[in-house]
Amino acid sequence: MKESQRYLQGNTGNWELVVGLEVHAQVISDAKLFSGAATAFGAPPNTQVSLVDAAMPGMLPVINRQCIYQVVRTGLALGAEVNLESVFDRKNYFYPDLPQGYQISQYAKPIVGKGEIIVDLEDGTSRRIAITRIHLEQDAGKSLHDQHPTKTFVDLNRSGVALMEIVSEPDMRSAEEAGAYVRKLRSILRHIKTCDGNMEQGSMRCDVNVSVRRPGEPYGTRCEIKNLNSVRFLMRAIQCESARQIEVIENGGRVIQETRLFDPDRVETRLMRSKEEAHDYRYFPDPDLLPVRLEAEWVAQLKAELPELPNEKRARFVQQYGLTLADAGVLVAEPDRADFFESLAEGRDPKHAANWVVGELLGKLNKTGVELFSAKISAIQLGELIDLIHDDKISGRIAKQVFDEMFETGKDAVRIVEERGLAQVSDEGELDQHIDQILNSNSDKVAEYKAGKEKLFGFFVGQVMKATNGKANPKLVNRLLRGRLSN
């Protein structure tokens, strides 16, 4: 990386940005971490609350084994150490949406230790970001301040939902790296189905620690920015927070360790609480729960059963399908995208299939903001479209029109081609008629062509296409025209 890209430019010289992330990922599970209540998103307030989630007197937590299974798989997918003994602690603080008055979390002995994520950057390089730990914890409920002019309402649907907190080392040096880290992490979690990664629904949230320093110097004082719910906001928050810190220092001040909030409308970070106001959480082991003890063989079995991870899949796509590393990278970023591609490529030219997915389909999804899983076009349907091109039933140009309609309506390609009469004209007699007419009405150009102005060949092709509304089989038109013009 070039010096100028690596450092931030201040008024007094270069600054290095240092970023560490805490990602809270909601565990995919049927029930909450310590109660049997359901975890569906968007349910009416307080409809997914058990007696345990509401912290009724005398209620006790019981660990949901599915959540243990999921976090262990996540650790294994990040090449991390799985701790065979871990402990749940209580993090004590008062808040209306925290019914117990404490959050059950893991503090001194988390279930997953050191691991790493290899992050791919846009310039084609990659970086290794170390994972410090992953622990399991309960989510809190939600305070609703906008339901009543003077009252705050509390929705406990999220209370007790299992979260994995994935903590990185301060290994990132730019907002881009932080963004790439979150995208890669999300891709891995989606591949192994331990978190759906839907940041806008809150099932993945980031807290980011930002500091700046002169190149080569020790870490500066960090600030934490809480609760960022998109990659875009994360990157913007890092940019404006680092700019703020540089300005503070360059104006002779010093950065104070504190917790801040990002305001996406004003594109700035704001003080939430200072270090002095920080809670003393009085962590201690939860006496209602026994330590979590895992069998080494069970962990080994989960490791063996892990599905193919994004980097492995990318290497296979390059090798098996002959794709470029870049295309393969795009395809494996989301597991459903990779699956779509593989089912499309089956029995077809894989590069052709990749071009359709990367070029047309993803472009369309991006433009319309539709997610692949809710797109109206299936891999089978897109395959049929590609087959029509391959079988010379339609031209590539027509295919793009057909694709647009398929994307919008979900209709089959064959039906669209029929309904709109878009089938390629491959009838030599019919094409000959068109050619006769064109050559006759353009006898001057025919003469010029024959005199050596070969560029005009394209003009004749275009005229035939125009006369057939673009449906003429271009290969056939070429052959017929060459035949007619050569004698």
């Binding site: 007696l51 007197p57 005398g58 117990q100 729960l289 026994l290």
Partner: protein, 496 residues
């Protein structure tokens, strides 16, 4: 009615046999015990009497009996400590902060009892959130011990925290009651009231639905007038419960079948560390006498050492308040119970908790908050946990040499109501003999064994290895028959 006259004061076993023989019905028992409660209301031992429910449950029990569906506690009237959540019946933990709280669920232990056929007569008074050794901390008024000293009529403490349970059983208001024991809360009031109180192994009874005081110590157990009744009652209370992660999956034996009282070959340990300074000679003498009874019954008496005993009390008064400070955080005026509303959230918390909790509960929340605070955690909580495992090791080593340990239950007789309130440390010293086995999670029982010089009851305690309740009950039977404790309290329910 001649039959009914004898219904008050019967043991659980006698009631069971009487109903089996058709001498009386569950409804007869319920009516007699409803009247019994009315006759001694001055004791303040119930927070809530539930006569309608008792009659309903008794009628249902009689109906089951007529179909030959007979549980192990079929038709037996029981009082339930007000720390057990009972569905549709107010449950307060004797605290203002839960005044008016009616659970929509039933604790696992009481569920087991109702399944065994028992009949609830009411919710027994207690120290607030089970914190106390005097029953003076209840928001619903103190409980009086049915016993009086010879020569004066001053009210005496029943002990605590299960003081209501012990007083009700002692005064013949019920044959049995549930209690909970965190550091002696069943055994100490049992000793003060001259009844049997038993704390099982930690994990033996489910804690689900019992309002938590200190999670790693709380255990439910029976309060009865005889050892046999304690065995019958515990069998019905105990059992594994998937809803309590600390409940242990060990089969529940038929404890009553193991009450042989055969002491031959049994080794009884006498720990030298339980001779504490200032302990009245009458306690020491009773202890020696108890050892002598067991020796004459065929047991071998062995002097043992539990070297870390002196650290048990300070350890307990770090761990229990630490857990309590966190367990009681849920009483915040947001979801249920008392709320003293204020526009400022922080002020609402302060007003609600300030008014909702009594002085002793506040003291323990503050101690607990302090010992868990950053900078103090290692010095207090962590160190206390280490000492706790040393105390458990003491017992493990002792139980290589002996089968059961004999000690006094308390270092002195019951004190007067209101005494020691100004000196919490003196109050905490009540638990000096009961706390070590609580910290080690071991089963222990208090058996009424004699009277003090001024005629208040005194108890002896037996401690056994984990899940050796059968041994405990068997030795307790022997102790009970040797002691021949037949004295009755001054105030007992009137026979109707």
């Amino acid at each position: 009615m001649a039959a009914e006259e004898s219904l008050i004061g019967l043991s659980i076993a006698e009631m069971r046999d009487g109903m089996r023989l058709g001498e009386f019905t569950a409804v007869d028992l319920a009516e007699a015990h409803i009247a019994a409660a009315e006759s001694v209301r001055e004791l303040g031992a119930y927070i809530l009497e539930t006569p309608e429910r008792a009659l309903e449950m008794a009628a249902a029990s009689d109906a089951r009996r007529s179909k030959n569906q007979i549980g192990t506690l079929e038709g037996i009237p029981l009082a339930i400590k007000d720390l057990f959540c009972t569905k549709g019946v107010g449950t307060t933990a004797a605290s203002r902060i839960l005044d008016g709280f009616v659970p929509s669920y039933e604790s696992s232990v009481t569920t087991n009892l109702w399944r065994a056929g028992a009949v609830m007569t009411g919710k027994a008074n207690m120290d607030e959130f089970a914190m106390g050794s005097s029953n003076m901390t209840s928001y619903f008024g103190h409980v009086q011990n049915p016993w009086r000293r010879v020569g004066d009529n001053q009210p005496v403490t029943p002990g605590g925290s299960s003081g209501g349970s012990a007083a009700l059983v002692a005064a013949n208001v019920v044959p049995g009651a549930t209690g909970t024991d965190t550091g002696g809360s069943i055994r100490q009031p049992a000793a003060f009231c001259g009844v049997v109180g038993m704390k099982p192994t930690y994990g033996r009874c489910s804690r689900w639905g019992i309002i938590a005081f200190a999670s790693s110590l709380d255990q439910a157990g029976p309060v009865t007038r005889t050892v046999r009744d304690a065995a019958i009652l515990l069998r019905a209370m105990a059992g594994h419960d998937a809803k309590d992660s600390t409940s242990v999956d060990v089969a529940v034996p038929d404890y009553e079948a193991e009450l042989s009282g055969d002491m031959r070959g049994l080794r009884v340990g006498i720990p030298k560390e339980y001779r504490v300074d200032g302990m009245p000679s009458e306690i020491e003498e009773l202890w020696l006498e108890g050892a002598d009874w067991l020796r004459r019954s065929g047991a071998e008496i062995i002097d043992i050492s539990l070297p870390h005993t002196q650290y048990a009390l300070p350890t307990y008064y770090i761990i229990a308040p630490a857990e309590a400070s966190s367990n009681l955080a849920r009483y915040d005026g947001v979801k249920y119970g008392l709320r003293i509303a204020d526009d400022d959230l922080q002020v609402q918390y302060e007003k609600t908790r300030g008014a909702g909790f009594g002085a002793e509960v506040k003291r323990r929340i503050m101690i607990g908050t302090y010992v868990l605070s950053a900078g103090y955690y290692d010095a207090y909580y962590l160190r206390a946990q280490r000492v706790r495992s040393l105390i458990a090791d003491d017992f493990n080593q002792a139980f290589e040499k002996v089968d059961v340990i004999l000690t006094p239950t308390t270092p002195h007789q019951a004190f007067l109501l209101g005494e020691k309130l100004e000196d919490p440390v003196a109050m905490y010293l009540n638990d000096v003999f009961t706390v070590p086995s609580s910290l080690a999670g071991l089963p222990a029982i208090s058996v009424p064994s004699g009277l003090s010089d001024n005629s208040l009851p005194l108890g002896l305690q037996l401690i056994a290895p984990a899940f050796r309740e059968p041994t405990l009950f068997s030795v307790a039977t022997s102790l009970e028959s040797c002691a021949g404790f037949v004295s009755r309290p001054t105030i007992v329910a009137k026979k109707t």
